[in-house]
Symmetry: C2
Subunit: 115 residues, 2 copies
């Protein structure tokens, strides 16, 4: 065989699918915030100090569309909304662990060595 690629196109697509879902500045922080339990809009906003309400709203919506999180509306007065991880969102844990592990490894290699 001349090229090594054709056999792995499916694997590559899976990796890119995953990236699409978690890519961006805020999705990982939001998911991590919610791994500590159900939270309300304002709580998440306090946990991620420099996110704007617009971005938070927008990214929550995207995560909900991908079924990583659940939005529960309480029709009280004033309204209350609670966000939580779905099973699919929880299934990200292994990936998040690897992400953190590699992130630490990277810092050791890069920050210490040169640069």
């Amino acid at each position: 065989m001349k090229s090594t690629e054709p056999a792995c196109q499916y694997e590559l697509k899976a990796a890119r699918d995953a990236m699409e879902v978690i890519q961006g500045k805020w999705r990982i922080p939001i998911v991590i915030a919610l791994t500590y339990g159900v939270k309300r809009f304002g709580e998440i906003q306090r946990d991620i100090p420099d996110i704007s309400p617009k971005m938070l709203s927008q990214e929550l919506k995207a995560l909900e569309e991908n079924k990583l999180i659940m939005r529960k509306l309480y029709d009280s007065m004033p309204v209350a909304v609670e966000y939580s991880l779905t099973p699919l969102g929880l299934s990200l844990q292994n990936l998040l662990v690897e992400l953190r592990n590699w992130g630490k490894h990277f810092r050791k290699e890069i920050i210490s060595s040169s640069d």
Copy 2:
């Protein structure tokens, strides 16, 4: 304790560091292409059919700056250049595996269920 966040700021930063390095449309494909061995510019370009030379050049440079790949220049005529993964680049394998696993899981859950 009232907030769950302060303790995990370091973990969060590690995850974001990792994301910054692998984020974007082309870095994962490039790294995956190079896991099959040393390759030249044109080979990588053929392995990733829809990448433009500009993007390939730009992303190779970024990956090199982060020490994930190595660039070796052969001063022949015409010049030849070979790219390969560094140990740090190779250390991404576990993360890539998780990325693919979760990507597949995600497709099963999403594509099949509704959407």
